[in-house]
């Protein structure tokens, strides 16, 4: 398995990241290194091993359905680059 520059461009676009040529080259190389290492793990027989979904062996961390007071709206909106008194504002999403 090997990652091409085009793969990296695709993944970057999905993550809304923009790379210059130099960065593309270096990430392609780095990703390939990681995948090569994974290939090595693939040499192990894992037929009887359950897939691991979490490194910590803990289950059922629940909370009760109890109301906790929300934060102030002013605080909620504080960090938004664009807002009014009530809403977050974003560039128009659809044109009707």
């Amino acid at each position: 398995m090997s990652v091409t520059k085009r793969d990296v461009e695709y993944i970057a676009r999905l993550a809304r990241l923009r790379f210059n040529d130099e960065e593309l080259e270096s990430y392609t190389a780095e990703l390939n290194e990681i995948l090569n290492y994974m290939e090595k793990l693939n040499e192990l027989n894992t037929e009887t091993v359950e897939p691991l979904s979490h490194p910590i062996e803990n289950v059922n961390v629940f909370r009760d359905d109890k109301l906790i007071v929300s934060i102030d709206r002013a605080d909620a909106l504080k960090n938004a680059p664009s807002r009014d008194e009530e809403f977050f504002k974003v560039p128009k999403v659809i044109n009707k």
Partner: protein, 480 residues
């Protein structure tokens, strides 16, 4: 629909769960709060926060799984589904992908021709809702994140549905089960129940699936039926013209009755699902499963069958009376006062539901208590009042929900059953209406109705109609 073809339909239903708080934080799920007031760092997707699962969401989803004959997976995990949209602040939705909590279920729908059909349920999983975008501004889109993190249950059907009508019946049944369980209010118009459909058509007998399209934005049960019918027609027309069906997402426009392709240039979805490291697996142990099973109410089908067997009701009556849990409860409360099962059913199905539908009220807000309705039925059955007078008393009860016995006494409506009293009234009417009597004697049977009317008028409707009839016929035949 063209007889050569059949449609293959699968539905994805999202049900908002009736919890007090969100799925991963303690913010309120209350509908209609001022914008961005039910939010906290967790549902705003601030860096460094950790989601903690609301236990009730697990219980409700397992309950639905059990009610729809699903296998409850002893272990299930959460996954991140990645996409960018402003009403999803984390840029991923926490959902379940591999290892959902429930799988392999089914529900049974009753088709018009009386046959039953099983519709398979592929999976039921838990996930979080997104926020709301408001697009009607000139320059910006406004975002309200109150709904972000509201618990949703996604119910995915097998592609077992063949007609829009079956889809309608399937949805109706799902809603009925959800509301019986009390875990979702089932309101499609308000968005607490949402439905997307996958549709393809194929020649009958073909076993491969055709190219499918997805139809969204159908916000009522009737719209689902209409949208599906439209899309099936559209696909068949394309095939008949030798054209190809393009796999795409369409939005139903209820105003113009057409499904339009979604305009946003969506790339082929690549959600890059992976297990969410912030959430621990959910393991349903026996103890928890037993506790959830204890919360299981009697479900619609079981209730319907019990009504048919225990109360000897026709299937039609039982179907209507069990259409909602509240209506069934109302009916059963009447039976704490009277054991006339069929009369109680008739009263509910005609007089009660008429008012409920006309006034558009919930049965729980119906002004006449079931106990008082039961008393009214008893007053008819023990011949205190006639059925006709009972209707008047009922009208009075609608205004006041007073005890029918009090109304009957106050208004002096007690039925006249004393035959000698009725006899003298009959004699009086006959002597006052000689002409009609002669007409009757010469064979005009219809006149009998007129005479009965006169007698009822004289008694202000209080004479027992059966006794009036008997005495009147007696008197008339003695004149022959």
């Amino acid at each position: 629909m063209n007889e050569k073809y059949e449609a293959v339909i699968g539905l994805e239903v999202h049900a908002q769960l009736l919890t007090d708080t969100k799925i991963f934080c303690g913010c309120s799920t209350k509908f209609g709060s001022a914008p961005n007031t039910n939010v906290c760092p967790v549902c705003l997707g601030q860096p460094g926060v950790l989601p903690v699962l609301n236990k009730k969401v697990v219980e409700y989803t397992v309950l639905m799984g059990l009610a729809t004959n699903c296998t409850v997976n002893r272990k299930s995990i959460f996954a991140r589904k990645h996409y960018f949209y402003p009403d999803l602040p984390k840029n991923y939705q926490i959902s379940q992908y591999e290892e959902p909590i429930c799988e392999y279920g089914h529900i049974t729908i009753d088709l018009k021709d009386g046959t039953k059909k099983k519709i398979g349920i592929t999976r039921i999983h838990m996930e979080e809702d997104a926020g709301k975008s408001i697009h009607d501004q000139d320059f910006d889109t406004l975002i309200d994140l109150n709904r972000t993190g509201t618990p949703l249950m996604e119910i995915v059907s097998e592609p077992d549905i063949r007609t829009p009508e079956e889809a309608y019946l399937y949805l109706t049944k799902l809603k009925q089960i959800l509301t019986y369980l009390g875990i979702c209010d089932g309101n499609m118009e308000e968005g607490s129940l949402r439905c997307d459909a996958n549709i393809s058509v194929r020649l009958k007998g073909e076993t491969k699936f055709g190219t499918k399209t997805e139809v969204k934005n159908m916000n009522s049960f009737r719209n689902v039926e209409r949208a599906l019918a439209f899309e099936i027609e559209r696909q068949i027309d394309l095939l008949e013209d030798g054209k190809e069906i393009i796999q795409q997402t369409l939005l139903w426009d209820a105003d113009s009755n057409v499904a339009q392709p979604m305009r946003s240039k969506e790339e082929a979805h690549d959600y890059r699902y992976f297990p969410d490291p912030d959430l621990m697996p959910v393991v349903i142990e026996d103890k928890m499963l037993d506790e959830i099973k204890k919360q299981m109410p009697e479900l619609p089908d079981a209730k319907k069958n019990r009504f048919i067997e225990k109360f000897a009701l026709p299937s039609y009556d039982a179907e209507i009376l069990t259409s909602s849990r509240e209506l069934a409860d109302y009916y059963e409360k009447i039976l704490t006062v009277t054991s006339d099962y069929k009369s109680a059913s008739n009263w509910v199905m005609t007089e009660v539901l008429k008012v409920v539908n006309e006034e558009k009220i919930d049965i729980t807000d119906f002004p006449v208590s079931p106990e008082n309705l039961g008393k009214l039925i008893e007053l008819i059955n023990n011949k205190t009042i006639s059925g006709k007078i009972a209707k008047d008393v009922f009208t009075e009860m609608l205004k006041s929900n007073r005890d029918p016995e009090t109304i009957v006494k106050e208004k002096n409506l007690v039925q006249i059953t004393d035959s000698s009293e009725i006899e003298s009234i009959v004699e009086k009417i006959l002597s006052n209406n000689q002409k009609q009597v002669e007409e009757f004697l010469s064979g005009k049977e219809k006149v009998l109705g007129f005479l009965v009317g006169q007698i009822m008028r004289e008694t202000k409707g209080k004479a027992n109609p059966q006794i009036v009839n008997d005495i009147l016929r007696d008197k008339l035949s003695s004149l022959k």
